[in-house]
């Protein structure tokens, strides 16, 4: 093989190599982009789920519902200031004593 032919073969090989590299890069990029979008979708689904759960949590935390449950179902009674006691290192303090 002459020197010219060798150079030519090397040149063609390099070109083909770069073409494959470019194809690989593009397909890798597409795959990563696809994965990213799948993850984005999963994140959005999780955000949505979190929103639903947060709403449920605050629906349950509604003081009106807690009040109704405590008074009607558990038979609890509302506390007056006179019944309130403060527990401190010095002992139990009634509201009126202070």
């Amino acid at each position: 093989m002459t020197r010219t032919k060798k150079y030519l073969a090397f040149f063609i090989f390099i070109n083909i190599f770069f073409v494959f590299l470019l194809i690989y890069k593009q397909s890798y990029f597409t795959k990563t982009s696809y994965d990213q979008q799948i993850l984005e979708q999963q994140r959005n689904d999780l955000i949505e789920e979190e929103m639903v759960l947060t709403r449920e949590l605050y629906e349950l935390k509604n003081p009106k519902k807690i009040n109704e449950y405590a008074t009607k179902k558990l038979g609890m009674k509302k506390m007056g200031l006179k019944q309130a006691k403060k527990i401190s290192p010095e002992g139990i303090i009634n509201s009126e004593e202070n």
Partner: protein, 543 residues
């Protein structure tokens, strides 16, 4: 080659030449002349602009509890141009969604048509049960309000999730943020994925709003208000709780109100937060400020004696003045404690137009600067429009219309040693206090008077052992058909609760009791104050 063959081959060559030339011409036309058109067409197929609207920011109370948060609702729609089961859809819509049916009949060529937005659980079940292919569901953002008692402050959003009234409307742009526009290079096959994403318009996330309102305290006060309104069969009432030291509004509620999570039938009148939007002539509670003016101007001291004429009705400068109970010659402090109109008018009339200046000094008749939607400015009859009666009326709280927030702000002056601390509703918008508006002596004297009003005067039911309670009652007639109706009253109590550094101003009012007996503020608004205060002290763990 004979001549015939030559001619045939020449014709054939010519034909091919024409065809090739035509093709070349067409290629030239498409590639060169029509290049921009096809380029644009290609872009339209591969590229698309997607607008991403950021989630509306939440609203929190002072403890970080959400007052307005995002949720999702389902809406049903059809694509009128692609209907597969027209008969089934026809009968279903006609029966269950007649308005959507009518719209469909009128817009059969449209690409997209909503059947119903924000479906109720019943409607959703109905649609799902029928399983009609043409009816599709779409998720749309909406608001959820965990604490219903703050509805009149927060307001609601409309069907497109834009603020309709209340703070949702005032801070709509801040909460909404700005949408971001992306340019996407789609995949040709499914169109569901993209290769390239460029931001063409950079948006902005909405900023959350932090209020000074304590939603738990608001609920506790609401419960007590409802109890009193029920007991006295009253039409309207309200409670305002303020931290006078910082100017934070901790609670502002009124009834009638509405449930922000149930917006199907809202009476617009009930969407208002009356402490802000409703001004009243509160009557005797205003005596606190007329007394402060008299003490500050040095026209009287709290020990000076005043002749209250020992009767329930008297003439002052030819004007008839009525009072609840008859008193004789008593010190000025007792005139206020026992809320005697005759004694108050006799003293305060000597102030003349200065009384107006004093009312303006405590910022009555001007907006609080909170920018609350629909806030009422209030009104004080200016001296140039005074009648002979005006100075007398103004001395005990008539011809002066203020809202409860203005009243709470003015009461803060007493707690803050004469300085006015402007109120605020949004965290971080606190304004500095003013220079002292009243001398320490005046403040000292008025504090004594207000303490005695609770200890020995009209508001003795407001006493709570172990706490320093000050306050003033007010019972005022309401205007009906242009004149004061003695049977329609507004009962008010403005109170201050102190224990060490813990200070709160609480205003309670009840309007138009339907009970057919003589009522005074001490019987209606004072018990409400007492109940709210007890709940507040337990809630704040001030024991």
């Amino acid at each position: 080659m004979n001549r015939g063959k030559k001619i045939r081959s020449s014709i054939l060559f010519l034909c091919f030449l024409i065809i090739y030339l035509f093709i070349l011409g067409k290629i030239f036309y498409i590639q060169i002349i029509q290049k921009p058109f096809f380029q644009e067409l290609g872009k339209q197929q591969y590229n698309c602009n997607v607008t991403t609207t950021p989630a509306r920011a939440p609203i929190f109370d002072c403890n970080g509890k959400p007052l307005a948060m995002n949720s999702e609702s389902l809406s049903a729609f059809i694509l009128p141009k692609q209907i597969e089961e027209p008969e089934k859809l026809f009968s279903f819509l006609k029966k269950h969604f007649p308005s959507a049916f009518e719209r469909w009949q009128q817009n059969k060529t449209k690409h997209f048509l909503y059947i119903k937005r924000r479906l109720s659980p019943y409607e959703l079940v109905l649609i799902k049960e029928q399983n009609i292919k043409d009816i599709k569901l779409i998720k749309e953002p909406c608001r959820f309000y965990p604490s219903e008692t703050v509805g009149t402050i927060i307001g609601i959003t409309d069907i497109d999730n834009n603020g309709l009234f209340g703070l949702e409307k005032t801070f709509n742009d801040k909460l909404n943020g700005k949408p971001t526009v992306h340019s996407l290079e789609r995949d040709a096959r499914s169109g569901h994925f993209y290769f390239n994403k460029k931001t063409t318009v950079q948006g902005k996330e909405g900023s959350p709003l932090y209020l000074t309102i304590d939603s738990d305290l608001q609920y506790l006060a609401y419960e007590e208000l409802m109890g009193i309104l029920d007991e006295f069969e009253a039409k309207e009432g309200g409670v305002v709780i303020v931290n006078p030291t910082t100017g934070a509004i901790l609670s502002s509620l009124s009834y009638p109100d509405f449930n922000p999570n149930d917006t199907k039938s809202i009476n617009q009148e009930y969407t208002k937060n009356f402490p802000f939007t409703q001004g009243y002539e509160f009557g005797s509670v205003i005596k606190v400020f007329s007394a402060m003016a008299a003490l500050e101007e040095g026209i009287i001291t709290s020990e000076d004696l005043v002749d209250c004429e020992g009767k329930k009705s008297a003439y002052i400068d030819g004007m008839k003045v009525n009072t609840v109970s008859a008193q004789g010659i008593i010190p000025f402090s007792e005139v206020i404690e026992k809320t005697n109109n005759i004694g108050t008018a006799k003293v305060v009339k000597n102030l003349g137009p200065k009384l107006y200046d004093h009312y303006k000094k405590v910022r009555f008749g001007e907006k609080t600067g909170l920018n609350f939607p629909g806030e009422q400015q209030g009104f004080i009859t200016p001296p140039n429009k005074w009648s002979k009666r005006s100075i007398i009326s103004l001395s005990f709280g008539y011809e002066i219309r203020v809202n409860m927030i203005q009243l709470a702000q003015a009461f803060g002056i007493i707690v803050n040693e004469g300085r006015l601390v402007p109120l605020h509703l949004i965290k971080g918008t606190q304004k500095p206090p003013t220079e002292p508006l009243y001398s320490p002596k005046t403040i000292e004297e008025i504090k004594k008077i207000l303490t005695n009003t609770v200890q020995h005067g009209t508001a003795h039911r407001a006493r709570i052992k172990g706490y320093n309670i000050m306050g003033k009652t007010g019972t005022a007639n309401l205007i009906e058909d242009g004149k004061y109706n003695p049977n329609k009253n507004i009962f008010t109590f403005c109170g201050i609760v102190e224990k060490g550094n813990y200070k709160r101003v609480i205003i309670t009012y009840v309007k138009e009791s339907q009970l057919k007996r003589l009522l005074y503020s001490a019987m209606v608004a004072v018990p409400l104050f007492e109940r709210v205060t007890e709940k507040m002290l337990i809630h704040d763990k001030i024991i």
